[in-house]
C-alpha cells in the first residue's frame, strides 16, 4: 500500500507540474505594456510555489512508503516535535511569502495608483445586460450628459447610453459597439455599468476591472501591438453572461485618427 501511494502521489505531482512547465495551456499572447512585468511576477511565483509543491508531495509520498508498518520496521520514533526546525520553517515561509508580496506590489501600484497620463485616448466603457458600449468624447473633448431615465437599450447607440440630446457636448460624442484604440498610446477607460456588476476583461491586454453601477472607475492600459482582441465579461451578470463579449481593435495612430474622424463626421 505504501508503494502504491507513493506512485500515485508522485504521478499526480509530475503530471500536474509537467503542464505548467510545458505551458501546454498558457496565458494568451500579451499585447500590452503591462504584460512583461505581470508575466514575470507570475513566473517567479510559479517557480517558488512549484518547488515547494514538488518537494512537499515527493516527501509525502516518500515518507508514507519509507515508514510503512512492516514486521521488520523499527518502533515509531517517540518525538513531540523539534522547536528549532519549526522556528526555521516558520521564518523561511514568512520571508518567502512576504517577500513575494513586496516584489509584486510595484506592478500593482503601476497599474492602479496613478491616473492615466495626459494625452491618453479616453474611452468610456459602459456595461449592461448583455452588451458593451464604447463612447468617445468627440471634438470638444468632453463627455456629454447621460441620464438614466433616457436610456433605451433596444434603440442602441446614443439612446442606449441615455445621452441627453439637449446637451451640446453630448451631440458630438461617438458611441460604438467595437472598441478601437491606437497602438502605443495609453488608453484611459472610464468604466460604468447601468444595471448589475460586470467585469471588463481583456486577456491579451492583461487587463481586468469590474464595472459597478453607481461608480465611474478610471483605469488605464497601453496596447503595444495592433490586432483584434476579445473582450470577455468576467463577473456573473445574468443569464447572458457567457455571451457578453466584445472586440478591442488596436490600430495604428493614423488609422485610428481617420476612423474617429469618420465617426465624428457622421454625427454632424
Amino acid at each position: 500500500m505504501g508503494l502504491v501511494l507513493l506512485c500515485v502521489i508522485w504521478l499526480i505531482t509530475f503530471a500536474s507540474t509537467y503542464f505548467f512547465v510545458a505551458k501546454t495551456w498558457w496565458f494568451p499572447h500579451g499585447a500590452s505594456a503591462a504584460t512583461a512585468a505581470l508575466d514575470h511576477q507570475f513566473g517567479v511565483t510559479l517557480v517558488l510555489m512549484g518547488v515547494i509543491f514538488v518537494a512537499a508531495q515527493l516527501a509525502l509520498g516518500y515518507f508514507v512508503w519509507r515508514y510503512r508498518d512492516q514486521p521488520s520496521a523499527a518502533r515509531a520514533d517517540y518525538s513531540h516535535g523539534n522547536l528549532g526546525l519549526e522556528l526555521m520553517w516558520t521564518t523561511l515561509t514568512a520571508i518567502l511569502f512576504i517577500g513575494l508580496n513586496l516584489m509584486g506590489s510595484p506592478i500593482w501600484a503601476a497599474e492602479r495608483f496613478r491616473p492615466a497620463v495626459d494625452g491618453a485616448t479616453r474611452v468610456e466603457v459602459t456595461a449592461m445586460q448583455f452588451a458593451w458600449y464604447f463612447r468617445y468624447p468627440g471634438p470638444d473633448g468632453k463627455f456629454g450628459i447621460a441620464k438614466p431615465e433616457l436610456e433605451d437599450p433596444s434603440a442602441g447607440g446614443d439612446a442606449a447610453l441615455g445621452l441627453d440630446p439637449a446637451d451640446p457636448s453630448s451631440k458630438d460624442d461617438v458611441v460604438t459597439g467595437i472598441m478601437e484604440v491606437p497602438v502605443g498610446r495609453e488608453v484611459e477607460v472610464i468604466l460604468r455599468a447601468h444595471d448589475v456588476i460586470h467585469s471588463f476583461f481583456v486577456p491579451a491586454m492583461r487587463f481586468k476591472q469590474d464595472a459597478v453601477p453607481g461608480l465611474a472607475i478610471h483605469m488605464h492600459f497601453t496596447p503595444t501591438e495592433t490586432g483584434d482582441f476579445e473582450i470577455a465579461c468576467a463577473e456573473l451578470c445574468g443569464l447572458g453572461h457567457y455571451k457578453m463579449h466584445g472586440m478591442l481593435k488596436v490600430v495604428s495612430p493614423d488609422e485610428f485618427d481617420k476612423w474617429l474622424a469618420a465617426r465624428e463626421a457622421e454625427k454632424q
Binding site: 499526480i12 495551456w25 511565483t45 515547494i52 509543491f53 508498518d69 500593482w108 431615465e149 453601477p213
Partner: protein, 576 residues
C-alpha cells in the same frame, strides 16, 4: 464547571424523542451527518449536470431536457450554496463535532441540549427552504453562491431572481441563526464541560479545531445574517442598502444611493472565515488520524494549536482579497494582500508538522489514514495556488477565471471532503458498532484522489488561458475554443469521480448493517471516545466520569506496555 446533574436525563424511549426531536448530541450529530450526506449527493449531481452541459451544450437530458443558460446558473448557485453551507459547514462541525466533542472531552452531553436540537431543526428547515427554490416559478436564483448585488437585489435582473432568490436568502438567514446557536453551544461545552484533568492543552486537536471553528462561526454568521436581512429589505421593502441609481433594460429600478460594494464587504467578512470553518475541522481530524495510524505523537502539538488560532484570527483580516478587482480602493489591497500571505505561514507550519509526524513513523494504512494522507496532499496543492491569488497584480489576469474555482475546490472543497471521509472511516466503528469494508474504501480512495485531481488541477490551466468562471457555454469566445479538449477530459473525470462516490455510499449503508462487529478500540487509539462502549451509551460513559492523566497523542512511549497510552490511563507519561 456547569452543574452536570441537568445532563443526566434518562434515555428517551419513544421513537420521536429518541430519533427525531432528540436531545442527545450523538443522535443530533447523526442527524446533521445524514442531512449533509443527502446534500452532498444533491450538490454533486448539480455539478455533474454543469460539467455535462459545458461540453454538450445542446444535449437533451432525461427529465430535464436541454439546459438553458439561466438553468445552468441556477445549478452554479445551488451547487455552491448547498456544498458550502449544507455539506462543508454541516458535516464536519454539526455532524462529527456534535457527536465527538463531548465524548472526547469527557462530557455527558453538550452544554445546552435543547439549543442543540433547535439548531439542527433550524438547519433542516433552512435546507428544505433552499431546495424549495428549485420548484418555484422562475426556478432557483442565478446570482451565484456569493449573491452579489445588484443582481441578487433586483427582482427584474433575471429569471430566478424573484421568489427563488427570496427563498435562497431566507434559507441562508435561517442557516445563520442555526449556526449561531450551534457555535454558542460548542464554545460553552468546550470551555465548561471538560473532564477532570482535560486541560485545554490536553485536548485532541479535533476539539481545538471545533472550538476555533465555533468562534469563527459566532463572529461571522451574525454579519451574514444582518446582510441577508438588508438584502431582503432591498428586494421587498424598497430600501437601497446595496442599490445605487440604476436601470434594468432601460427601466429605472426606483432605488438610489446604495452601494453594491457594501454587500461584498459584508458577504466576504463572513465568506472568508467561512472557508476556515469548512477546513479547520478537516485539519483537526487529519492531525488526529495521522498521529493514530503513524503510531507517533503529533509533531509540534502546541504549534498546531497556535497555527489554527492564528489562521482563525488572520482569517478575519483578509476578506478584501476577494475584491481586488471590485473597484474598492487599490491602496487597501496592500494590507489585504500582506495579511493573506501571512496566512500562508501557519498553513505551512501545519503541513510541515504533518510531514514531521509521518517521519520515522510506523504507518498503518487503514482507510482513515489513506484519506488523511490525501488531505495533506490536497492541502498542499490547493494551498499553494493561494499565494498567486493573494497578489493583487496577479488577480488582474486570474480573478474570476477557472483558476479560482481550481484553487478553492482543491483546498476547501476536496481537501475538506477528504477530512469528512477520514472522519467517517475513522469514527464509523464507534458510531455504528461495525467496521467498514476496507477493500471498497481503498477503491473509493484511489478513484476519488485521482479523479478529483483530474477535475480540479486542469482548472488552473484553464484559468491561465483566461476561461472565465460561471460561463454556461464556452462557444461564444473564440479564444476558448482550443480549451474544449481539456474541458471534455475534466467532465469524464468528474463522471468517474461521482461513480466512485456510489461505492462509498454502498459501503456506508452495507457496513452499517452487515459489517463485522467493531471492538471498543479497533484502531488502538488513545483519546477518550475509545474508552467507552461501542456505540456509546446515552450518557457517553455509562455512569463513569472519566479522569484524564495524559496528552492526546501518546503513541510508542518508551517503556509503556502497549504502543499507545490512553488519555485516561492512570500511569502518567512524563511531561515532555
Amino acid at each position: 464547571m456547569v452543574a452536570q446533574e441537568s445532563h443526566q436525563h434518562a434515555a428517551p424511549q419513544g421513537f420521536i424523542r429518541k430519533w427525531v426531536f432528540s436531545l442527545d448530541h450523538k443522535v443530533i450529530g447523526l442527524q446533521y451527518y445524514f442531512l449533509a450526506l443527502t446534500a452532498v449527493f444533491v450538490g454533486m449531481a448539480l455539478s455533474l449536470l454543469m460539467r455535462i452541459h459545458l461540453i454538450w451544450p445542446t444535449a437533451a437530458l432525461p427529465l430535464l431536457g436541454e439546459i438553458k443558460p439561466e438553468t445552468y446558473l441556477s445549478l452554479v448557485t445551488m451547487h455552491g450554496t448547498i456544498m458550502v453551507f449544507f455539506v462543508l459547514t454541516t458535516a464536519p462541525q454539526g455532524g462529527f463535532g456534535n457527536y465527538f466533542l463531548p465524548i472526547q472531552i469527557g462530557a455527558p452531553d453538550m452544554a445546552f441540549p435543547v439549543l442543540n436540537m433547535l439548531s439542527f431543526w433550524t438547519t433542516f428547515v433552512a435546507y428544505v427552504v433552499m431546495l424549495a427554490a428549485f420548484f418555484v416559478v422562475g426556478g432557483a436564483p442565478l446570482h451565484g453562491w456569493t449573491g452579489y448585488a445588484p443582481l441578487s437585489a433586483l427582482q427584474s435582473a433575471g429569471p430566478g431572481q424573484g421568489l427563488g432568490a427570496d427563498l435562497w436568502i431566507t434559507s441562508i438567514a435561517l442557516f445563520c441563526i442555526a449556526s449561531l446557536m450551534g457555535a454558542l453551544n460548542f464554545i460553552t461545552t468546550t470551555l465548561d464541560m471538560r473532564a477532570k484533568g482535560m486541560s485545554l492543552m490536553r485536548m485532541p486537536l479535533t476539539c481545538w479545531s471545533w472550538l476555533i471553528t465555533a468562534i469563527l462561526g459566532l463572529l461571522a454568521f451574525g454579519v451574514l445574517l444582518s446582510a441577508g436581512i438588508l438584502l431582503l429589505m432591498d428586494r421587498n421593502m424598497g430600501t437601497s442598502f446595496f442599490l445605487p441609481l440604476g436601470t434594468i433594460n432601460g427601466q429605472l429600478t426606483g432605488h438610489k444611493g446604495g452601494s453594491p460594494l457594501l454587500w461584498q464587504h459584508l458577504f466576504w467578512f463572513f465568506g472568508h472565515p467561512e472557508v476556515y470553518i469548512a477546513i479547520l475541522p478537516g485539519m483537526g481530524v487529519t492531525s488526529q488520524v495521522l498521529s493514530t495510524f503513524s503510531r507517533k505523537p503529533i509533531f509540534g502539538y502546541k504549534a498546531m494549536v497556535y497555527a489554527m488560532l492564528s489562521i482563525g484570527l488572520l482569517g478575519f483580516m483578509v476578506w478584501g482579497h476577494h475584491m481586488f478587482m471590485s473597484g474598492m480602493s487599490p491602496y487597501t489591497a496592500f494590507a489585504f494582500s500582506v495579511m493573506t500571505m501571512a496566512i500562508g505561514v501557519p498553513s505551512a507550519i501545519k503541513t510541515f508538522n504533518w510531514l514531521g509526524t509521518l517521519h520515522k513513523a510506523r504507518i498503518r494504512f487503514h482507510s482513515p489514514m489513506l484519506f488523511a494522507i490525501g488531505f495533506v496532499s490536497l492541502f498542499v496543492s490547493g494551498g499553494l495556488s493561494g499565494p498567486f491569488l493573494a497578489q493583487p497584480a496577479l488577480d488582474i489576469p486570474l480573478h474570476d477565471t477557472a483558476f479560482v474555482p481550481g484553487h478553492f475546490h482543491l483546498i476547501m472543497g476536496v481537501a475538506a471532503i477528504f477530512g469528512i471521509f477520514a472522519a467517517t472511516y475513522y469514527w464509523f466503528p464507534k458510531m455504528f458498532g461495525r467496521m467498514m469494508n476496507e477493500k471498497l474504501a481503498r477503491i473509493h480512495f484511489f478513484f476519488t484522489l485521482i479523479g478529483t485531481y483530474s477535475v480540479f488541477m486542469p482548472m488552473h490551466y484553464l484559468g491561465l488561458a483566461g476561461q472565465p468562471r460561471r460561463y454556461s457555454q464556452l462557444t461564444e469566445l473564440a479564444y476558448l475554443h482550443p480549451l474544449m479538449g481539456l474541458n471534455t477530459f475534466m467532465t469524464y473525470a468528474a463522471i468517474i469521480t461521482v461513480a466512485a462516490q456510489l461505492v462509498f455510499l454502498f459501503n456506508l449503508f452495507w457496513s452499517m448493517f452487515k459489517g463485522p462487529k467493531a471492538s471498543d478500540n479497533p484502531w488502538e487509539a488513545s483519546t477518550l471516545e475509545w474508552t467507552t462502549a461501542t456505540p456509546p451509551p446515552h450518557d457517553n460513559f455509562g455512569g463513569r466520569t472519566p479522569v484524564v492523566h495524559n496528552g492526546p497523542y501518546e503513541y510508542s512511549v518508551p517503556g509503556a506496555p502497549r504502543d499507545y497510552v490512553m488519555q485516561s490511563d492512570p500511569a502518567t507519561v512524563a511531561a515532555h
